[in-house]
C-alpha cells in the first residue's frame, strides 16, 4: 500500500541505469547475473548484481537487484539443484521400470524455484505445494532415500508407503496435495496460524498456472489480504496446466497481477539467485505486517505433466530443446560460478560426481527397503491420531473388521 504510487516512480533507478526505457518482460535466462571481486574465503559475503530483467512488479517496488551471497551458498545451491534433478531422473527410470505406480509428476527444469525459495527462508517458515512435490520435500529436509522409498511404496518411505508421489510431508512442509488448487486456502491457513502465534515467519504457498484459476485461490487471496496474513502465494508458471497452455486457460496470464488488491512480483524462476532475492524480499514484506504477496515464478517443465504424458503433443520439441539448452537453471548457475571464479571446473565436476554418487546410493538404499507388511495393523494405522481411534474399523468383509 505504502509503495503504490510514489515508490513506483521513484524506485527503479537502478533499472533505468542499465537499460533503455522500453517495456521489458522477465527473462528466463538462468545466467544473467553479474558479480566481481569475489573473495577468496568460502563464507565471506559478496554481492551479486541481478539482471534488470529478473523481476516485474505490480503495485510494489521491485526487490533489490543485488543479492548477498557466499561461495559456499552458491555451491550448496548448485549441489541442491543437481541432486534434485538426479533424484527426479532416478524416479523417471524407476517409473519406466514399473517400480513406481500411479501418477508421478516430475519437476525437472523447475529446480531453481524450490531451491531458491528454500535458500531465502528458514526451516521455521512453512511451505505447501501441489502434487509436483518431490523437490520441495527434499528441500524441506526429506532424505532422498525416504522420497524414493515412498515412490517405491516402502515402509521407510517419507509417508510410510501411504502417500506415494503426490503426498509427501516433512516438518513445516504440508504436502503434497492432489487436488488442484486446494492447497492455496490451506496455505493461507498456515499463515493464519503464524500470525495467531505471533511468529516472525511466512508461509510459501505454491500452485501451478493451471490451478491459478480455481475459485478457492481467489477466496484465499481475499481473506489473506483482509487479515494481512504473512503469506507468499506463488504461481509456478511452467506455461502448461497439463496439456493446456496458459493462454488457453487464463484470461489474464500475468499471474502476479491476479491478486488484484494484492501486490505481485514476477520473477525469473529459472534463476535461483533471482528467486532467492525475490522471496527474501517478500518474506520481509510479509512479516512486517504488510500482508500477502502474489509471486509468479516463470519456469518450465522439461517433461510431460506426469509420466503418462509424453509432453510433446501440445508444445514443440524445439521449444523444450530451446529451454533446456539455453535456460537451464543448473547450467546457468554453473556458468556464472565459473565466470566469477567461485569455483573451478574440477571442483564442479567433483560436486557433480559426489551428488550423483549420493543420489545413486540413496536410491539403492531405497530399493533395498522393505514394503510394508500386508497386515491389517499397517492398513488401518493412522486413520486417526493414535490413542484416539474408534474401537474398530470395518474391512472388506465383516470378518476383516479391525479392532484397535
Amino acid at each position: 500500500m505504502l509503495f503504490r504510487t510514489a515508490a513506483r516512480q521513484a524506485a527503479p533507478l537502478r533499472r533505468q541505469a542499465f537499460s533503455p526505457l522500453t517495456r521489458r518482460s522477465v527473462t528466463t535466462d538462468a545466467a544473467s547475473a553479474h558479480a566481481e571481486n569475489i573473495p577468496q574465503e568460502d563464507d565471506k559475503p559478496f554481492t551479486v548484481r541481478l539482471s534488470d530483467e529478473s523481476f516485474e512488479t505490480y503495485e510494489i517496488d521491485p526487490p533489490p537487484y543485488t543479492l548477498e551471497t557466499t561461495k559456499k551458498e552458491l555451491k550448496t545451491m548448485y549441489n541442491d539443484m543437481v541432486s534434485m534433478r538426479r533424484m527426479e531422473m532416478a524416479a523417471d527410470r524407476l517409473y519406466k521400470e514399473k517400480k513406481i505406480r500411479g501418477f508421478c509428476h516430475l519437476s525437472t527444469g523447475q529446480e531453481a524455484v524450490a531451491v531458491g525459495i528454500e535458500h531465502a527462508i528458514t526451516r521455521m517458515d512453512k511451505v505447501i505445494t501441489a502434487y509436483r512435490c518431490h523437490g520441495f520435500a527434499l528441500m524441506r529436509g526429506g532424505t532422498i532415500r525416504s522420497i524414493i522409498g515412498e515412490l517405491l511404496g516402502r515402509r521407510e518411505g517419507i509417508a510410510y508407503g501411504k502417500g506415494g508421489s503426490m503426498h509427501m510431508f516433512a516438518e513445516n512442509f504440508y504436502g503434497g496435495n492432489g487436488i488442484v488448487g486446494a492447497q492455496v486456502p490451506v496455505g493461507a491457513g498456515l499463515a493464519f496460524a503464524q500470525q495467531y502465534n505471533e511468529q516472525p515467519n511466512t508461509s510459501i504457498v505454491l500452485y501451478g498456472d493451471g490451478a491459478s484459476n480455481q475459485g478457492q485461490v481467489f477466496e484465499a487471496f481475499n481473506m489473506a489480504k483482509l487479515w494481512k496474513l504473512p503469506v507468499l502465494f506463488g504461481c509456478e508458471n511452467n506455461k502448461y496446466g497439463m496439456g493446456t497452455s496458459a493462454a488457453r486457460s487464463s484470461a489474464l496470464t500475468e499471474y502476479y497481477k491476479r491478486g488484484q488488491y494484492i501486490p505481485g512480483i514476477k520473477v525469473n524462476g529459472m534463476d535461483v539467485l533471482a528467486t532467492k532475492a525475490a522471496v527474501q524480499y517478500g518474506k520481509d514484506y510479509a512479516i512486517s505486517g504488510n500482508g500477502p504477496l502474489v509471486f509468479e515464478y516463470v519456469t518450465y517443465r522439461y517433461g510431460g505433466h506426469s509420466m503418462s504424458d509424453p509432453g510433446t503433443t501440445y508444445r514443440s520439441r524445439e521449444e523444450i530443446q530451446r529451454m533446456r539448452s539455453t535456460n537451464d537453471p543448473i547450467a546457468g548457475l554453473k556458468q556464472k560460478m565459473l565466470e566469477w571464479g567461485v569455483t573451478s571446473e574440477e571442483e564442479l565436476k567433483s560436486i557433480d560426481k559426489a551428488a550423483r554418487a549420493h543420489v545413486d546410493a540413496e536410491v539403492a538404499e531405497a530399493e533395498k527397503m522393505a514394503a510394508p507388511d500386508n497386515t491389517d495393523r499397517n492398513l488401518f494405522e493412522d486413520i486417526y491420531v493414535r490413542g484416539s481411534e474408534p474401537k474398530w474399523m470395518r474391512g472388506r468383509t465383516v470378518d476383516e473388521t479391525f479392532y484397535y
Binding site: 515412498e150 502417500g163 497439463m242 487464463s250 500386508n374
Partner: protein, 376 residues
C-alpha cells in the same frame, strides 16, 4: 390449474421433446428391431469386440451428432483428446463450439454447465475423475439435482455428469474414492455405473437423453477392457433403460449383486465357485444405482434365498448397506441366511500395492465370503 401446468416451460419442453425422435430412451423396442447392418470387423452374428473407452466415445459422438443442444466440456477433453482419451477425435469432428476445454476450475465449469442446462442446452460435463467433482459437488446437488423440485417442476435441468470413479491403481487416497453412495443418496439425480462396453454405450446415451441430471460413474481401469458388443448395440439408436439391472449370469444358489468393475470380479468368482464347489451363482449387474432395480434383486433372491453384495465403496452407509436393507424390507421371508457384503475397506486408500490390495475387494475375498455364506 390444469391448463396453467400445461403452459409451464417444463411441460412445453417435455412435449416438444416427445415430438422429436430424440427421446426413445425408454423405448426398448427401438434397439431390438433394427439389427440389419453390421459395422467394422464383424465376427459371428455381427458381434464386435469394443473397449469401454471406444463405446463411450461412440455414445458421445452419436449423441453429439443427433442433438445440436448437446455439447461436452471439461478439462483436456478437446485438444488433448481427453485425459483418458475417451473424447478422442471429438474436437476434430464437432469443432470447438461443442467440444470445449475448460480451465481447471471444477466449481466454475460445473456451475456454468448447469446454467446452460437450465437455459435449455443438454451439456455433458466431464470430470477428469469424480474425485475432482468434490470441488463442485455443491453445483451438482444444490443447483442441478434440486432445481426441478424447488421450482415446482418449472425448471428442468437436462445435464450429464460423467467421468471415472472409484478404484484406480496406485494413486493413493485423494484419487481413489467411490462416490456411488454419495450421488445415489440424492433425490433428483439419476446415477448409472456401467461395467461392460454395452453398458457404457447404452447407459451414457440414456443419460444424455434423460431430461434430468444424470451422473455416469465410469471406472478408469475398465476403459481399456474390450467386451463383445452385439449388432444392436453397435447401432446409433441403442440405449439402455436407466433403472434396470442385468442378470449377467443366471444361477440358483446365490445372488451376487454388484456394479461397475466389481461385476467382472464377481463373474470370475462365480466361475470359481462353480468349479470348486458346484455352486450356481446368479450375478446381477446393477447398471443403475438410482433408481435401483429392487424388483430384479428380490426376484433373484426369491429364487436363490441367499444374497451377497459386492462393491468397492466404503462399507458404512453405502450401496451394499442400502441393498441389504432393501432385501430386509422386501425380501426378508425369502432369505435363508443373513445377507453378506464385500466392500472397500474403511480406510483412505494407501499407496503401497500390498496394502492397497487389502483395501479393495479381490476375487478371492468374494469366493471365500460366498463359500462361508453357503457353508461349502
Amino acid at each position: 390449474m390444469v391448463s396453467s401446468r400445461l403452459f409451464r416451460p417444463a411441460a412445453r419442453l417435455a412435449s416438444s421433446r416427445l415430438a422429436t425422435p430424440l427421446r426413445p430412451a425408454f423405448a426398448q423396442s427401438a434397439c431390438a428391431q433394427s439389427a440389419l447392418r453390421a459395422r467394422g470387423y464383424a465376427s459371428e452374428g455381427g458381434v464386435k469386440e469394443v473397449t469401454v473407452r471406444d463405446a463411450l466415445n461412440e455414445a458421445l459422438a452419436e449423441e453429439l451428432e443427433l442433438n445440436q443442444k448437446t455439447f461436452i466440456l471439461g478439462e483436456e477433453v478437446a485438444q488433448y483428446n481427453g485425459a483418458y482419451k475417451v473424447t478422442r477425435g471429438l474436437l476434430d469432428r464437432f469443432g470447438p463450439k461443442r467440444v470445449i476445454d475448460t480451465p481447471i476450475t471444477e466449481a466454475g465449469f460445473t456451475g456454468l454447465a448447469v446454467g446452460a442446462a437450465l437455459a435449455g442446452l443438454h451439456p455433458i460435463c466431464e470430470f477428469m475423475t469424480f474425485n475432482f467433482a468434490m470441488q463442485s459437488i455443491d453445483q451438482i446437488i444444490n443447483s442441478a439435482a434440486k432445481t426441478h423440485y424447488m421450482s415446482g417442476g418449472i425448471q428442468p435441468c437436462n445435464i450429464t455428469f460423467r467421468g471415472p470413479n472409484g478404484f484406480a491403481a496406485g494413486v493413493a487416497a485423494q484419487h481413489s474414492q467411490d462416490y456411488s453412495a454419495w450421488y445415489g443418496s440424492i433425490p433428483g439425480l439419476k446415477v448409472v455405473s456401467p461395467w461392460s462396453s454395452e453398458d457404457a454405450k447404452g447407459l451414457l446415451k440414456a443419460a444424455i437423453r434423460d431430461p434430468n441430471p444424470v451422473v455416469v460413474l465410469e471406472n478408469e481401469l475398465m476403459y481399456g477392457q474390450a467386451f463383445p458388443m452385439s449388432e444392436a448395440a453397435q447401432k446409433n439408436d441403442f440405449v439402455l433403460p436407466i433403472g434396470k439391472a442385468k442378470i449377467e449370469r443366471p444361477g440358483k444358489d446365490l445372488t451376487i449383486v454388484s456394479l461397475s468393475r466389481c461385476v467382472g470380479q464377481s463373474l470370475t468368482a462365480a466361475a470359481e465357485l462353480k468349479q470348486k464347489y458346484g455352486v450356481d451363482s446368479e450375478v446381477i449387474n446393477l447398471r443403475s444405482v438410482k433408481p435401483l432395480d429392487v424388483e430384479t434383486i428380490i426376484a433373484s433372491l426369491k429364487k436363490t434365498g441367499r444374497l451377497m453384495v459386492v462393491e468397492s465403496g466404503y462399507p458404512m452407509f453405502g450401496v451394499s448397506s442400502e441393498i441389504m436393507a432393501l432385501a430386509m424390507e422386501y425380501g426378508f421371508d425369502y432369505l435363508t441366511a443373513p445377507a453378506v457384503r464385500v466392500t472397500g475397506a474403511e480406510v483412505p486408500t494407501p499407496y503401497a500395492v500390498g496394502l492397497e490390495n487389502m483395501a479393495f475387494p479381490q476375487e478371492d475375498t468374494i469366493v471365500s465370503q460366498a463359500a462361508k455364506l453357503l457353508r461349502v
